[in-house]
């Protein structure tokens, strides 16, 4: 009888376990974590560090202010493009170009922070595809912008918002504001050239570009506002309270993974695509290389890389000041001071290498002093090795997309 009872209990237990367990440990963590406290993060531990405090600091002191700065920059850009549309004056064009540079600088820091709403909806938790809406590089297509210029689709903002992302983001705006002359970027056999429709608008091309730019700037401002509102609104508590608030992140690890995933932009895009490809160091294979340098018309590539690195530093260190909390503090708190020091040293080397590029633009540097650009590439390569090895190992962070499927 005793034997039978124990058998029955054991069997019921395993069946119960089977139903209770879900496939991912993350899901399981989330189920239980709903009971954890949701109050503001407090520093704790012997060294005063805890991970929720880091998330809170990054959200409130680094990412949210960056989204606010970007939203302000796009508002200024919208106003500037409206003014230029009305006047078509050189002064207003210069002002619009300056506004674009400021907006692009702010965005390039946010390129490093594609967490939640900025991320792709099919691969990032909380993703709302805002990144591609705002800036679609490397999928730029200047010919498509010229086609839109002919078709005038930008005149109806409602329908224009549903056009392909690469005709209504910062990249399209760069072409519209900085392209000189009346040439277009399409091949001779393209309809706008073969059928002569481009030639019918040449006389008014400046006005059309200005109108188009104003329409794009307006859409851009809408997306920037949406991103800022998310970080000022419901997304921020979901990020900070990840695991307790399971509306976006089932566990705190998911939010931490999402944040470390964002850091990998520096390796994939800044190092390989923005530097390695124009240096001809990286072979792109059958897929072909992205159109580089990144900013071919405004010649702003060097500054954009600079802002990427600044964004990485902000996210990695939590910014400046004694209260700053970032991944370097987490590494130190965990006892991996050597990893933190090595990564900060590599980051410093990259910043120094960037400063050592004397030429004002990347295009000039590539032509006149490619060794200086290679030095920057090498410094970022060193940083990337630490990022992909010690950093993720010690903190048990998952590499991007590596959480798919099972283990062992």
């Amino acid at each position: 009888m005793k034997h039978r009872t124990s058998l029955a209990l054991a069997f019921l237990a395993v069946i119960g376990t089977g139903y209770a367990c879900v496939e991912s440990s993350n899901e399981l963590i989330s189920t239980g974590a709903a009971t954890a406290g949701t109050g503001p993060a407090t520093t704790g531990g012997d060294d005063g560090f805890n991970r929720q405090a880091m998330l809170q600091h990054l959200a409130e002191t680094v990412i949210r202010p960056e989204t606010q700065a970007f939203a302000e920059a796009t508002k200024t850009l919208e106003n500037a493009t409206v003014a230029y549309r009305s006047s078509l004056s050189a002064a207003d064009l210069d002002a619009a170009r300056d506004a674009w540079r400021n907006a692009m600088n702010a965005w390039q820091r946010l390129e490093m922070m594609q967490i939640g709403p900025a991320g792709a909806s099919d691969s990032v938790l909380g993703g709302a595809d805002l990144r591609d809406e705002i800036y679609s590089w490397p999928l730029i297509n200047k010919c498509r912008v010229d086609q839109e210029l002919v078709e005038g689709a930008y005149q109806n903002e409602g329908t224009f918002a549903s056009e392909a992302v690469n005709v209504r983001g910062l990249d399209a705006l760069e072409y519209l504001l900085f392209q000189e002359g009346t040439q277009n970027a399409c091949a001779p056999q393209n309809d706008i050239n073969a059928q002569g429709t481009w030639s019918t608008i040449v006389a008014e091309v400046d006005q059309r570009r200005a109108d188009y730019a104003a329409a794009v700037a307006s859409i851009l401002d809408g997306h920037a506002t949406q991103l800022r509102n998310a970080w000022e609104g419901s997304f921020l508590p979901a990020y900070v309270g990840a695991g307790s608030d399971t509306s976006v992140y089932p566990s705190q690890r998911d939010a931490l993974n999402a944040t470390s995933d964002a850091l990998f932009y520096l390796e994939k895009q800044t190092k390989d695509a923005k530097l390695g490809v124009p240096l001809a160091i990286i072979d792109c294979g059958a897929a072909g290389c992205p159109d580089t340098p990144e900013s071919k018309v405004a010649l702003h590539s060097k500054q954009q890389i600079q802002q990427n690195i600044a964004g990485f530093r902000a996210l990695f260190t939590g910014g400046v000041g004694e209260d700053a909390l970032g991944f370097d503090d987490w590494l130190r708190a965990a006892g991996a001071e050597d990893v933190a020091d090595a990564m900060l040293a590599d980051l410093g080397s990259a910043e120094a290498a960037l400063l050592a590029i004397d030429e004002p633009t990347l295009t000039e540097a590539l032509a006149e002093d490619p060794a200086s650009v290679t030095a920057l590439f090498d410094a970022l390569s060193e940083l990337a090795v630490h990022l992909k090895t010690d950093f993720v190992t010690v903190l048990d962070l998952e590499l991007p997309a590596a959480v798919e499927g099972d283990n062992d």
Binding site: N50, V392, T393, D396, D406
Partner: protein, 465 residues
């Protein structure tokens, strides 16, 4: 008297013991569980979109040595293959045309596992082995569609004991070697990689703060090692079996909660029921122990057939005992060089991350870097970056591509760095070796650099909140 003694040779005694009839109930339950797990596993792949992600999206697959001829079906073909797997699982569970469907289930599942090495998981390997064993066992003779077709759903009341013993042996092998693999300094002296994994789960409710402490990792490391080394003994002993099975449930539930290991806890927990007496299903459902086996079974006739069966069984057992030990044939740390790592039940033993960049020197002297991303998905790249044989395979693939592009010979070198169990990253592969000159094979790989000699770090606890 002499004749009788002659007949009682050890081999014959073993043969008699293995042929001894045992009540079929537990084996019927095992068959249903095995088929059910196969169906659930296939459905998980279909419903999670993993068929597309793991078998359709990759442009390159890593091949097992000697299995380079295995190719994935088309996208539709792979989807249909998993549908077929789900159906075959149902057929196995129900004993439907079992003599055909059970071998098919083994072949169909193993085919999937052979497509891409980067998808290797120990529990998939175990499922393949269990399906192979089941294909040779007459598990359809009772409680099955086939038995019903033959006239009685109940079918055979007894099945030969070798079925039960072989399954118990298989599971004991998994546990024992998983435990043996844990007898190393990282696991027992430094609590790694458990310390890394547990401390990152400090946000878990109730136990979370405890997990952050190194002492917890040390205790769990020792407990896990002792559990794996001995649990099959306690499961085999009637007096400790119930408690041992409760431990099995607790252990696998905890591991399943902590780590993303999919079906593994279910496979191990449910398969371990085979250690219970053969009448355990009846003990639960009907409240009685059931009759014991006949006391004097007669050996079936057909000596040659029996000898072949015994020989095959002995070969299988020997292979399962020896194969996981093959890493001793290679110098160095198996967790670093990975020679002898697979099919050896080295489960959840390492936290290893790598950074890989290939350098290609073309015939014209120019040097370019090739990122693995050009060929691999993120998941494949992550798996490849710590496994030297896969790094070599991709090097050859890159060489083929570059030769095609340039029409001239190329040399391929790799900057491969890896971090093992929290140690600082160091080079995994000799950067001066042209990997085009290296062939994949079973010999010790001199192009893999020695493992780090430093101890893994003792990380301090970091609070989640």
């Amino acid at each position: 008297m002499n004749q009788e003694r002659q007949r009682r040779t050890p081999a014959r005694a073993l043969a008699i013991a293995l042929q001894r009839p045992l009540p079929s109930d537990a084996l019927v339950a095992f068959r249903i569980i095995l088929g059910g797990l196969l169906t659930i596993g296939a459905l998980r792949f279909l419903l999670n979109g993993w068929v597309q992600r793991f078998f359709v999206e990759p442009k390159v697959f890593f091949h097992y040595w000697g299995f380079g001829w295995v190719r994935a079906w088309s996208a539709t073909g792979m989807q249909l293959h998993f549908v077929l797997l789900a159906l075959l699982g149902l057929c196995v569970a129900g004993g439907v045309f079992y003599r055909v469907t059970a071998p098919l289930a083994f072949v169909a599942f193993t085919y999937v596992e052979l497509i891409d090495v980067s998808g290797y998981l120990n529990h998939y390997y175990l499922l393949s082995l269990l399906l192979l064993l089941a294909a040779f066992m007459p598990l359809h003779r009772a409680g099955s569609f086939d038995a019903w077709r033959a006239g009685s759903l109940r079918g055979a009341r007894y099945l030969p004991a070798w079925c039960t013993h072989l399954l118990r042996f298989q599971l004991a092998t998994v546990y024992f070697y998983a435990g043996l693999a844990k007898v190393n300094a990282d696991w027992l002296l430094h609590g790694q990689p458990l310390s890394i994994w547990l401390s990152s789960r400090a946000d878990m409710p109730i136990v979370g703060p405890l997990l952050a402490h190194h002492e917890t990792a040390m205790v769990m490391s020792w407990a896990g090692c002792i559990y794996d080394l001995t649990i099959w003994i306690w499961l085999s002993w009637a007096r400790t079996r119930a408690v041992a099975y409760a431990l099995v449930l607790g252990f696998h539930t905890a591991v399943g909660l902590l780590f993303n290991i999919g079906m593994f806890p279910f496979i191990m927990s449910l398969s371990a029921l085979i250690f219970f007496p053969p009448t355990w299903p009846r003990a639960i459902w009907r409240g009685r122990r059931g009759e014991e086996a006949p006391s004097s079974p007669s050996l079936p006739q057909g000596t040659m057939k029996r000898r072949i069966a015994l020989g095959l069984g002995a070969f299988y057992v020997a292979a399962q005992v020896l194969f996981p030990l093959r890493h001793f044939l290679y110098p160095g740390d198996v967790l670093w060089n990975e020679q002898g790592m697979r099919w050896s039940w080295k489960v959840l033993l390492r936290e290893k991350n790598g950074a890989i960049t290939y350098r290609v020197r073309r015939g014209d002297g120019s040097l370019v870097q090739v990122s693995p991303r050009q060929f691999l998905t993120d998941v494949q790249e992550r798996e490849m970056s710590g496994q030297p044989d896969l790094i070599l395979q991709l090097a050859h693939r890159i060489a083929d591509q570059q030769r095609g592009l340039t029409g001239a010979p190329v040399s391929v070198y790799v900057d491969a760095f890896a971090s093992l169990n929290g140690r600082p990253a160091q080079r995994l592969v000799d950067p001066t070796v042209d990997l085009c000159t290296v062939s994949d094979g079973l010999a010790p790989a001199s192009w893999i650099l020695p493992a780090p000699t430093t101890a893994p770090p003792h990380l301090r606890p970091v609070r989640a909140r």
